[in-house]
């Protein structure tokens, strides 16, 4: 089927379907007998900082799982509900592979470790996102979940991929492919809504200012915990701001 020959409504329906999701993820999902990850080669001195980073990722993915699941109810049409269902399972899978990675690194009680190391900015981000979802504010919640949160994760993972051990890098590369799809849905859906209601852009800009504080704060907190020199902190923050800008929300 030539997707680009479809009418806009049929195109949306097709690219948001279970079938399309399955085709998209098929090549990079681990199976029982395929896609072997590289061997574990984390240096002993890198183990603790990696566990701290993975703990933050798990808080982010748990939030993304709860957020995507919660958004389904207020999604305005079937194709959005189905897309968000594929996103829900993506987020659950990210959480699963990241907690497995922590177990591989010798963490015995992963839940306790995540709670102990949880980034307070991320916890506040989660609370406020779930509030928007509970209020049924579809446009605002979608913006925070699929633009801001996904851009945060995208920037953090892309930055980490350049520095990570081979096994963690392979895991993160798979996750980033999913994030691109999620960001694309947010951009597409919100772009359409803004075209119908130009005032929405201002509303989202105000919301962005509130959440940027939490996003940038969470990066600062994580980088400080990892004892990364202050001179290197702006790189990651710029990555996040650039990702949001690319989605048309400068």
């Amino acid at each position: 089927m030539d997707l680009h020959a479809l009418e806009p409504e049929d195109f949306d329906r097709e690219v948001r379907s279970f079938e399309f999701w399955l085709d998209a993820v098929r090549d990079y999902l681990p199976t029982a007998d395929g896609l072997e990850l590289p061997p574990d080669d984390v240096a002993p001195e890198d183990r603790e900082p990696l566990i701290t980073v993975l703990s933050s990722y798990c808080v982010g993915e748990m939030m993304a799982l709860e957020g995507a699941g919660g958004l389904i109810r207020s999604a305005p049409n079937r194709s959005s509900k189905i897309f968000l269902s594929t996103q829900t399972v993506d987020e659950g899978r990210h959480l699963e592979v990241l907690t497995n990675r922590m177990t591989e690194l010798g963490v015995e009680d992963v839940d306790a470790e995540i709670r102990r190391r949880a980034n307070p900015y991320l916890l506040e981000f989660r609370e406020r996102l779930l509030d928007l979802i509970a209020q049924g504010r579809w446009q605002q919640a979608l913006f925070v979940q699929n633009v801001l949160l996904e851009s945060m994760e995208f920037a953090a993972f892309c930055h980490h991929i350049q520095l990570a051990d081979a096994r963690t890098r392979a895991i993160l590369e798979g996750i980033v492919k999913d994030e691109r799809r999620h960001m694309g849905f947010g951009e597409n859906e919100l772009g359409r809504l803004i075209a119908e209601d130009p005032g929405l852009r201002d509303d989202l800009s105000h919301l962005r200012q509130e959440f940027d504080y939490l996003a940038l704060g969470s990066f600062e907190h994580a980088l400080t915990e990892l004892r990364i020199p202050a001179a290197e902190h702006p790189t990651l923050k710029r990555g996040y701001l650039a990702a949001v800008k690319r989605l048309g929300f400068a």
Partner: protein
């Protein structure tokens, strides 16, 4: 608890479902499969097929809203991850059954009107009751309503429909086979997870039994209504014969010849099967079956 949930993780789901029994399917069936000409051409059979499929869409929409809504209410991470797979399973069911309505000739612009026209009020009422509990973030009530009552009872109906269509409509039968495989996993999770919660919180036993009593009425009423609607087996045979075909007599389920059984016989055997399995399931969970009562009008 952790060990049993290992069998419900996303890796297992990926290997058994999308990379397992759904491999090489499109919208739940082989790419070249299509609805039988007779179903598409005969108004009575087509209307019956649309009516049945609408109930499936309504039930699956309810299950999608409930499973996704329960993620935030789940008390542990492993249950949240399982519910993520269930959410996508339910979304897929909504997708494949909606596609069946399109295959049966329902126009995209008419979809919601057709669903509103054929949706069984008892099923709609059941959905309202269940989603009230989900909105209240009551995980136990939500899982009992969704994974034990809705899916546990619908499971037998899906099996009967699948048996009835195996010969006459392989496309629909294959779609149902994939759905049944998913439901089996969901029911297993509900039974195990609620079983462990009842052991941890015996004080909730009475509440769960009351919930089962309240909710199962609407499911049984839906099945009864559907059985009494549509053409009789004799009418179907006449339609098939008039079209130059030979009525199929092999389809059997629970020892009953489905193509010859009267609606009352179907309803009776379905009721027996559902209730028998349902009681066993409740016993394994640790709660006693409560006979549903007709709610006050």
């Amino acid at each position: 608890m952790t060990d049993f949930l290992k069998g419900y993780d996303i890796q297992y789901w990926l290997e058994s479902c999308p990379q397992g029994y759904l491999e090489d399917t499109q919208y739940g069936h082989g790419a070249s499969a299509r609805e039988p000409d007779l179903v598409l051409e005969n108004p009575t059979l087509r209307e019956q097929a649309i009516g049945t499929t609408v109930q499936l869409v309504v039930g699956e929409r309810c299950a999608l809203a409930a499973s996704s809504g329960l993620i935030n209410a789940a008390p542990d991470e492993a249950s949240k991850r399982f519910l993520a797979t269930q959410t996508l399973d339910e979304a897929r069911h909504v997708e494949v059954f909606t596609h069946r309505l399109y295959d049966l000739g329902v126009k995209k612009g008419e979809l919601e009107d057709v669903i509103a026209q054929y949706a069984n009020p008892n099923l709609v009422h059941f959905a309202e009751l269940l989603l009230e509990r989900v909105d209240a973030k009551d995980f136990v009530a939500g899982v009992v309503g969704q994974n034990v009552v809705l899916e546990g009872m619908a499971f037998n109906v899906f099996e009967m429909l699948q048996a009835a269509n195996r010969e006459t409509n392989p496309k629909f039968a294959q779609t149902l086979a994939g759905t049944i495989a998913d439901e089996r996993r969901h029911v297993g999770f509900g039974e195990n997870r609620i079983g462990s919660l009842v052991r941890e919180h015996p004080e909730r036993k009475r509440d769960i039994e009351q919930l089962q009593k309240e909710m199962s009425y609407f499911m049984l009423a839906t099945f009864g209504d559907q059985m009494r609607q549509g053409p009789t087996p004799e009418q179907v045979s006449e339609i098939v014969t008039a079209s130059g075909g030979t009525p199929v007599r092999q389809a059997e389920w629970q020892g009953l010849k489905l193509s010859e059984a009267a609606p009352e016989e179907l309803e009776a055997v379905l009721g027996d099967t559902i209730l028998k399995e349902f009681k066993l399931r409740l016993e394994r969970i640790g709660i006693e079956y409560q006979t549903p009562e007709r709610p006050a009008a």
